[in-house]
């Protein structure tokens, strides 16, 4: 019980820091780690037209619609009607919210010409009006836009300043989360030094035009008691309000899938360890003009659509119809996927919008279509919309965003500069996982296409340069032929192939000849063996006869001796007696 108390006290006071009030503005809550400080005043300052009022109104509207926190707007510049009309273009129906008592707008108007100041006064009237509006809707959020108008309307600045201080105190005491807008001043955040009173959280808005393209930026200057992103973050004001795009909103925590997706070219799959790219990885296809970047991309898109996955194809050079027609010429029918609703083309000139707008549009398209694959062809065009840094940062954010959603992203790029084959337009090599380089190989009076894999994170990949062919059945990769001058392509390869074929034929003929000779030799030897066999048989026969004759001869002699002995009457047993005697003699010795 006691432990629990200690714990809750900790979480309420120290460790978890101040309570946050989510703005509902995409990206802003990420930068501020949860939103604006609850029950405190936040100063939003910036030059004319940088979106202070829009930010404030979106804070109120989103509070009322998404967080069930009604709001009050004290507008010192625009009437309620004007405000409603202005933000209607952002899709906010202010009048409906007012009617539902979710929002109250009070236009506070002050005209110096019609006001004479005589003696002591205070701004209790403002408090009364604010208090009344807050009570009427049960407001939790307040927008003061912009109190600086009071400085123009009232002469006695010391009263005004002390009253403003009292107003901000009053808002805090009522636990109202407040946005106070202020015009940017010379050498100070606001013209009237409002930051002096509003020190809890200060957000600076800015817009700059570089090469005729406007980029809005937002920076959290200070945020007392909380972590916050410190960079300048580009933001957009679009048809659904503000969206801030933090560069490093995610701490590279996207998951890495082990799933593989086919490149659409079987040979290229083989080069990438057999199965193609990783799902949710970023792939860069770079190559000079006419090396077949779009074709290789189309092959991938075709394969993805064939698997039933949705694709978004952002083209910055060709129209959708043109791409479909051109890919038809190499046997890739993208039109059917468009008809099936799997393939979404978005073709626009890069210079049509600023980089942030492009990014915003991609974000929106991804949300609408929920694709598995996004193609940007080519990203080089985008670098014309901003500096190299800005383009890289934009692409980085795009890649992060898509990776987080496990969407495979395929970028194509043209190397800039004649010398740098490995240079990419925007220095994006570090943000891609797989880099396929297409090269123009000049040899033997021909330009041919070569393909190799420059890098493939986490994939065992071939290091060979393959010849890349555009056939009427799509992209084909040929095995590499190495000659004296490197890879052989085109006619040189054909010649080499023919040469190889003739060499093989010769070898086969030679072998056949050898086999024939061997056979002949065997036959000859066999004949020899038979001959020898015959010889030995003859020999045997002859020897047999001789032996027989000899035997006969011996027998005949024996018979003759017997006959002789018979005739001489020799006892045949005498030999035995002799033998016995001899034995006896031997025993005696």
């Amino acid at each position: 019980m006691r432990l629990h108390k200690v714990k809750s006290a900790k979480s309420a006071g120290g460790l978890n820091g101040i309570s946050k009030c989510p703005t509902g503005i995409p990206g802003l809550d990420v930068i501020t780690f949860g939103g604006l400080p609850r029950g405190r005043c936040t100063l939003v300052c910036g030059g004319a037209g940088c979106g202070k009022t829009v930010l404030g109104m979106e804070f109120l509207v989103r509070g009322a619609t998404d967080f069930d926190e009604p709001g009050v707007c004290l507008s010192f510049e625009e009437t309620a009607g004007e405000l409603a009309t202005n933000v209607a273009s952002l899709g906010f129906d202010v009048n409906a919210l007012v009617a539902r008592k979710k929002l109250a707008i009070d236009h506070v108007y002050i005209e110096r010409k019609l006001i004479e100041e005589t003696g002591e006064y205070d701004l209790e009237g403002l408090f009364v009006r604010l208090s009344q509006a807050v009570d009427a809707v049960g407001a939790r959020r307040v927008l003061l836009d912009s109190v600086e108008a009071l400085f123009a309307g009232l002469e006695n600045q010391s009263i005004l300043r002390s009253e403003l201080r009292r107003l901000f105190r009053w808002l805090k005491d009522r636990n109202l989360t407040t946005i106070v807008t202020g015009e940017r001043g010379e050498g100070a955040l606001t013209r009237q030094g409002l930051e002096e009173y509003l020190s809890d959280c200060v957000i600076l808005l800015d817009h700059r035009v570089t090469e005729t393209v406007l980029t809005r930026r937002l920076r959290v200057v200070k945020y007392r008691g909380s972590m916050h992103g410190t960079n300048e973050y580009p933001f957009l004001i679009e048809t659904d309000g503000i969206s801030v795009q933090p560069l490093t909103s995610l701490d590279l925590t996207h998951t890495a899938s082990n799933e593989r997706v086919s490149t659409g070219v079987a040979t290229l799959d083989t080069m990438l360890g057999g199965k193609g790219y990783f799902r949710g990885s970023s792939i860069l296809i770079s190559g000079t003009a006419g090396t077949g970047k779009t074709s290789l991309t189309a092959q991938f898109v075709d394969a993805a659509c064939a698997r039933g996955e949705r694709c978004v194809f952002l083209s910055f050079e060709e129209s959708a119809i043109q791409i479909v027609r051109n890919m038809g010429s190499i046997g890739i029918d993208l039109g059917r996927w468009v008809d099936k609703g799997l393939l979404h083309f978005q073709a626009s000139r890069p210079s049509t919008f600023g980089l942030e707008m492009h990014l915003g549009k991609i974000h929106r398209l991804v949300k609408e279509v929920a694709p598995k694959t996004v193609v940007l062809d080519p990203v080089t065009g985008l670098s014309r919309c901003g500096t190299a840094n800005e383009t890289t940062s934009m692409l980085l954010r795009l890649v992060d965003f898509l990776k987080e959603k496990q969407i495979t992203i395929l970028l194509t790029t043209l190397p800039n500069g004649s010398d740098g084959q490995e240079q990419t337009g925007a220095d994006i090599s570090s943000l891609v996982d797989t880099w396929v380089q297409l090269r123009d190989i000049e040899s033997g009076g021909e330009h041919n296409r070569g393909l190799y894999i420059l890098k493939a994170r986490g994939l065992a990949h071939s290091n060979q340069i393959r010849e890349f062919l555009l056939t009427d059945r799509g992209v084909e990769l040929r095995a590499a032929y190495l000659g004296d001058a490197g890879v052989l392509t085109g006619s040189a390869r054909l010649v080499q192939e023919a040469r190889d074929a003739s060499t093989t034929l010769l070898a086969r003929q030679e072998m056949e000849r050898k086999q024939f000779l061997l056979e002949r030799k065997r036959k000859a030897l066999n004949a020899q063996i038979a001959c020898l066999q015959l010889e030995i048989e003859t020999e045997e026969q002859e020897s047999g006869q001789l032996i027989a004759q000899e035997k006969l001869k011996v027998k005949k002699e024996e018979n003759e001796q017997k006959d002789m002995a018979k005739s001489r009457f020799v006892n045949t047993g005498s030999r035995e007696a002799n033998g016995r005697n001899a034995k006896a003699r031997g025993g005696r010795q």
């Binding site: 002050i110 100041e117 005589t118 003696g119 006064y121 009237g125 009364v128 009344q132």
Partner: protein, 108 residues
């Protein structure tokens, strides 16, 4: 609560004056006293003062664009004029009410 001072009858009031205050503060009492004095001096019989307490009727503040308190609004004669403060500077009140010309020329 609305206090009404009608010196010369409703129909005859050429000057419609509204004094906005928030409660009976020192400043509001001061303002009312000052206003009463100035009106008696310069507009005797021609004015009608309405005191609006915004603590009681806060919804009335927006209509006349009341911001500072006390505020004196001259709704008649046209144009509408506003004077803020406790009306302690008589000179400026007269300027604000566009009464100075009358005062200097000596007719009331």
């Amino acid at each position: 609560m609305t206090k009404s001072k009608n010196a010369a009858g409703k129909a005859a009031a050429k000057w419609e004056l509204k004094l906005y205050v928030a409660g009976q503060t020192a400043k509001s009492l001061q303002a009312f006293a000052n206003l009463k004095r100035i009106c008696e001096e310069h507009l005797a019989g021609e004015y009608h003062i309405e005191v609006v307490d915004l603590l009681k009727n806060p919804q009335l503040a927006a209509g006349d664009q009341i911001l500072a308190l006390p505020t004196l609004v001259r709704s008649l004669p046209e144009p509408v004029l506003k004077i803020i403060g406790d009306l302690s500077n008589t000179e400026r009140v007269l300027v604000g009410l566009d009464l100075q010309a009358r005062a200097s020329k000596g007719y009331a």
